[in-house]
């Protein structure tokens, strides 16, 4: 088990995080044990940050104790690994618009104590503003929607501290199916550049088709 980022470990091409709730699986992932510590395998075919790790991302701004706003948490696969990384003093505010998937994250949040599930529309940040206790250190967005860029910008304006980080998984097929992914990426990154300092771009193919992960810092 070799540490590559804060809380992220690699072993023979697979990524792992320390299991905050030993013995428990969240989505049927493998558990591994090394020197008395239990790790959960971070499946890069099911989680976009893990796919970015697999494709060699160099900027991975997650640390212990961090406060994260996660737009589009869905059923909590990725959020559970973030939860492992940030630990008990960190916090993940997970917003999703679908009650169906949020239903699944609730038991996970209950046993972890650092995930706050919020049923809300990420296009309307003022609706859940009262529940987000502080400016966050990282905004992570994974929503499949054609307005995913404006959604990120609005939420970062409202909740991201200055100097904080933002990560977005751009899904070109959601923004415009007709244009080529490269073209969509170029336009999106152009939009993002007006608001952020771009640190890195990593395509997620072949693990996630037509996706680009962008890591940014708020100016």
């Amino acid at each position: 088990m070799n540490r590559i980022f804060d809380g992220v470990f690699v072993d023979r091409g697979d990524f792992f995080t320390r299991n905050m709730v030993p013995g428990r699986r969240v989505y049927g992932e493998d558990l591994a044990r090394s020197q008395g510590i239990e790790y959960r395998r971070w499946d890069f075919t099911r989680s976009k940050p893990a796919a970015a790790l697999k494709n060699g991302i160099r900027n991975f701004p997650l640390h212990e104790g961090m406060k994260i706003l996660y737009l589009g948490v869905a059923s909590g696969t990725t959020a559970s690994h973030f939860s492992d990384i940030v630990g008990l003093e960190g916090m993940i505010y997970g917003v999703d618009i679908s009650q169906r998937v949020l239903r699944q994250i609730i038991p996970i949040a209950e046993e972890r104590g650092n995930i706050a599930p919020i049923l809300g529309d990420t296009r309307k940040p003022e609706e859940y503003a009262g529940l987000i206790l502080e400016k966050v250190d990282l905004v992570f967005e994974d929503v499949a929607s054609d307005d995913q860029i404006p959604i990120l910008i609005r939420n970062c304006d409202k909740f991201l501290r200055s100097g904080g980080f933002a990560m977005i998984a751009i899904k070109s097929q959601s923004i415009d199916v007709v244009k080529s992914p490269k073209e969509v990426y170029r336009e999106c990154v152009g939009e993002l550049e007006k608001n952020f300092e771009i640190l890195e771009k990593v395509e997620l193919d072949p693990h996630e088709k037509h996706h680009l992960m962008v890591v940014m810092r708020k100016k």
Binding site: L88, M91, Y93, Q99, I106, A109, I118, L119, L133
Partner: protein
């Protein structure tokens, strides 16, 4: 002296213009109660807010500034710098004011509170139309199952009376005949009468026939279940979407709600989208420059379109979609019944389309 009074999920804080903490009062540490208090603080003065105000009043403060206009509040300043300060520093303030002994405890509380709130929101988000979506899924499953079982029954009974397979094409009738009569000698029906005598099917034991009868009986029960379910859905639609029901009919209205993901979503769709629900594959193929634009999706199930000649179907689909869009909007936002009028307009306009020369 001025004091800003700000409510957060953990309790009420008062700070001065220089963001110094003046006083505080914790909310109950019961997450659901705290979450409800916070919501309530937007419309009325909470006991905790009054408490903080009175404490400061005794210390000589006279001007109290709140973020929301409500009874008992003189000065309102939304999003004041002081409010912003409190919101950005709740963690530190909560520990300073000894509401929580350390950040991890606060985290535990906070997650519990949001979980409680999320549960309440989820509960509220489930509307009657969610039942329509599920019933539609159940109906689709049921149809598939009935087809599979009917194929089996036809094969099975075919060992005994193969001629009946072609003579009786209706599934339900076939199952009824098997269940009712069993042995081919007993079957009395005009369609099969002449075929019994010279059948090439095997002569089977009573127990073999009884098993087939029992199987056919179960299939008939599924047909009954299907019927019950359709009238159940119709009952729901009469209440939640009477306009759409009149314009589209039960099965189409149900499928539209299910495919679009609920009445709320359907009501926000433009009629051009409604027209093509279920034809996404063809639409995107067209958008990529291959093939022709589709004219109808599942809306094709509407009798006006299905029964029309090919050259009129595009126009009719557009017309039906526009009426359905109006109906869905009426149902979701208006709660006003105008379905009879819409339907009349629809049939009249459809007539002019069908009678016009292409």
């Amino acid at each position: 002296m001025r004091a800003y009074i700000v409510s957060t999920i953990v309790g009420v804080f008062a700070v001065d213009e220089n963001n110094r903490l003046l006083s505080s009062k914790a909310f109950p540490k019961e997450p659901r109660e705290a979450a409800e208090k916070l919501k309530l603080s937007e419309i009325e003065m909470l006991d905790e807010e009054r408490f903080v105000r009175d404490v400061l009043g005794k210390k000589g403060f006279r001007e109290f500034i709140f973020g929301y206009r409500k009874a008992g509040v003189k000065h309102v300043e939304p999003n004041s710098p002081a409010e912003q300060f409190v919101k950005d520093n709740v963690r530190k303030l909560a520990v300073d004011a000894k509401i929580f002994s350390n950040p991890a405890d606060l985290n535990q509380f906070l997650t519990k509170a949001t979980i409680e709130l999320a549960k309440v929101h989820i509960k509220k988000s489930i509307q009657r139309d969610s039942l329509v979506v599920q019933a539609n899924g159940a109906l689709e499953d049921l149809d598939k199952s009935i087809n599979i079982y009917m194929e089996r029954l036809r094969e099975w009974y075919g060992l005994h009376f193969p001629e009946m397979d072609r003579a009786v094409s209706g599934h339900e009738k076939f199952a009824t005949l098997v269940a009712k009569f069993g042995d081919r000698e007993n079957v009395t029906d005009a369609d099969v009468e002449g075929l019994k005598k010279n059948s090439m099917g095997a002569d089977l034991e009573d127990e073999d026939i009884r098993m087939m009868q029992s199987f056919a009986g179960k299939i008939l029960e599924m047909y009954k279940l299907r019927e019950d379910m359709v009238s159940y859905v119709e009952g729901i639609l009469k209440k939640v979407a009477p306009n759409l029901l009149d314009v589209a009919g039960v099965s189409l209205a149900m499928r539209m709600i299910a495919k679009s993901g609920g009445l709320a979503r359907l009501s926000r769709m433009p009629s051009s989208t409604i027209q093509l629900i279920g034809a996404e594959k063809a639409l995107f193929r067209f958008l990529k420059g291959k093939g022709r634009s589709p004219r109808h999706g599942i809306i094709f199930g509407h009798p006006l379109i299905q029964g029309a000649r090919d050259e009129h179907r595009g126009k009719l689909a557009r017309l039906v979609a526009s009426k359905m869009s109006i109906a869905a909007k009426l149902d979701f936002y208006g709660k006003e019944y105008r379905g009879d009028k819409l339907k009349k307009e629809l049939t009249e306009k459809a007539k002019t389309i069908v009678s016009s020369k292409a």
